[in-house]
């Protein structure tokens, strides 16, 4: 029996001016499923992820999470809280606040009481406990990415959307992220991410969807993903 779809996209298209970015994207993902989007630069990976998490409204088509339209007014209040987002160009933090203060702010949204201890634990886990009083504007790209991972750890998402999550991370950071993905998957979180790192995708993705010029040109199931990232992605 097929698992029930947690996230479904039906005929999603998006164009920027006259340039099509996504054309008729349709697929479904179940709870606990991890999907990796692969493709060259400009293939539409980031646009697709931004549509899934509600940051970008498609021109046509529907995106449903738990049968709710991602762009409905009620979704903005309830559903968006459940979507963890890791973007490439932004971490959604305040530049003048320290690492700990930024995470404490997000902890207040989701945890309530005892948030300080939880924040310290998260900082420890992402390897930023030494930098907890450093302001966000002083952090390197990799440290910013780690702090963003910390933000995701404080949320309890049911859907996780990550654009190039391995970029800027060193080996230790990659390991933290891979562990997180595994934990979230076990907890039934549906995970989408875009990556050029097919070697890492082969370790944790249930499906790799290959995009080209905004269209799905191939899909590979777990076990059929080549780990060398070569053209023999689909065997």
């Amino acid at each position: 029996m097929k698992p029930m779809a947690h996230v479904s996209l039906d005929g999603v298209s998006k164009a920027f001016g006259f340039v099509p970015a996504l054309s008729n994207i349709t697929f479904k993902a179940g709870r606990g499923e991890t999907l990796c989007f692969a493709g060259e630069n400009g293939a539409g990976k980031s646009t697709l992820l931004r549509c899934i998490c509600g940051l970008l409204r498609p021109d046509t088509g529907k995106i449903l999470i738990s049968d709710k339209d991602v762009f409905s007014a009620s979704a903005r209040r309830t559903l968006w809280k459940q979507i963890g987002v890791l973007e490439q160009g932004a971490s959604f933090f305040y530049e003048d606040l320290t690492c700990a203060e930024n995470l404490q702010l997000y902890a207040k949204f989701s945890l309530g009481e005892n948030d300080e201890k939880q924040v310290l634990r998260v900082l420890e886990r992402v390897g930023l406990s030494q930098s907890r009083v450093q302001r966000f504007r002083e952090l390197s790209g990799g440290m910013r990415k780690r702090l963003a991972l910390g933000r995701l750890l404080l949320q309890s998402p049911t859907v996780l959307v990550m654009d190039e999550p391995f970029a800027h991370l060193d080996e230790a950071g990659e390991e933290v992220l891979l562990e997180m993905i595994e934990e979230y998957r076990c907890a039934g979180v549906t995970i989408f991410y875009a990556s050029h790192r097919i070697d890492l995708a082969s370790r944790n993705a249930d499906r790799v969807i290959v995009l080209e010029h905004g269209r799905i040109v191939d899909t590979a199931q777990r076990g059929n993903i080549s780990s060398d990232g070569s053209e023999t992605l689909l065997q």
Partner: protein
């Protein structure tokens, strides 16, 4: 404390920290207010206006300086939200745009109140018109007027901040909408300075109060749509 209350207090604390850690922003805004009053004093006081003349132009001067300085402050207020797209993250994670708006309104109101006191203080020091007899009422009127100003200004600053020409866009959109409030403030201030008291049931004072209530309510509702777009 309720979830909304917890989010509100966390956001207000965050905004106050952010403002405090940008001292140049505080200094620049208050400096602009003081300089504007000094320029106005050169335009009127130094050319031989009498005390009566100065009192007659005082309402216009105070509210014009406040309007321009207030716009500078509002423009600054959303910059930290725009850098690294922090507002987007906060809106998504809190799930409560109305609370995010009201928290921003609160910190903007507190900052604008400080600006207003700076305008009145600079006016007392440099303009020469004696307001001491009606200062308490003057401050009260200013604080009541600021409610509507900050309500509309906070909403429109959120719209303007994403544009490169934000410094121009905000006053262009905000000033026409503020005309009833500004007219009310000028008339009530003139009434206060000439009679030493104000009529609480008079048209202009009621207009200010209605404007405050409507603009705060409408902006709280509209912020969700502004944020979504």
């Amino acid at each position: 404390m309720s979830a909304e209350g917890r989010i509100f207090s966390a956001l207000v604390a965050k905004d106050l920290k952010t403002i405090w850690r940008r001292p140049t922003q505080i200094a620049a805004t208050i400096g602009f207010a003081v300089l504007s009053v000094i320029v106005a004093s050169f335009a009127f006081r130094q050319i031989g206006y009498t005390q009566a003349d100065l009192l007659a132009v005082t309402p216009g001067i105070i509210w014009l300086v406040f309007l321009f300085t207030g716009v500078v402050a509002l423009n600054y207020s959303f910059l930290p939200e725009y850098e690294d797209r922090a507002l987007e993250g906060v809106l998504r994670a809190s799930g409560s745009p109305a609370t995010v708006y009201l928290a921003k309104w609160t910190t903007n109101y507190l900052f604008i109140a400080v600006v207003l006191l700076a305008v009145l203080g600079a006016h007392g020091l440099f303009f020469g018109a004696d307001l001491s007899a009606s200062l308490a009422l003057m401050i009260t009127i200013a604080l009541i007027t600021a409610i509507g100003f900050v309500a509309l200004g906070t909403l429109l600053a959120a719209v303007a901040v994403v544009h490169r020409e934000r410094e121009l866009i905000l006053p262009l959109v905000l000033f026409p909408l503020l005309i009833p409030l500004l007219a009310g403030a000028v008339f009530v201030t003139r009434e206060l300075l000439s009679h030493g008291s104000i009529d609480l049931s008079g048209f202009w004072f009621v207009l200010i109060c209605v404007f405050d209530i409507v603009s705060l309510a409408v902006s709280t509702v509209l912020f969700e749509h502004v944020a979504a777009s």
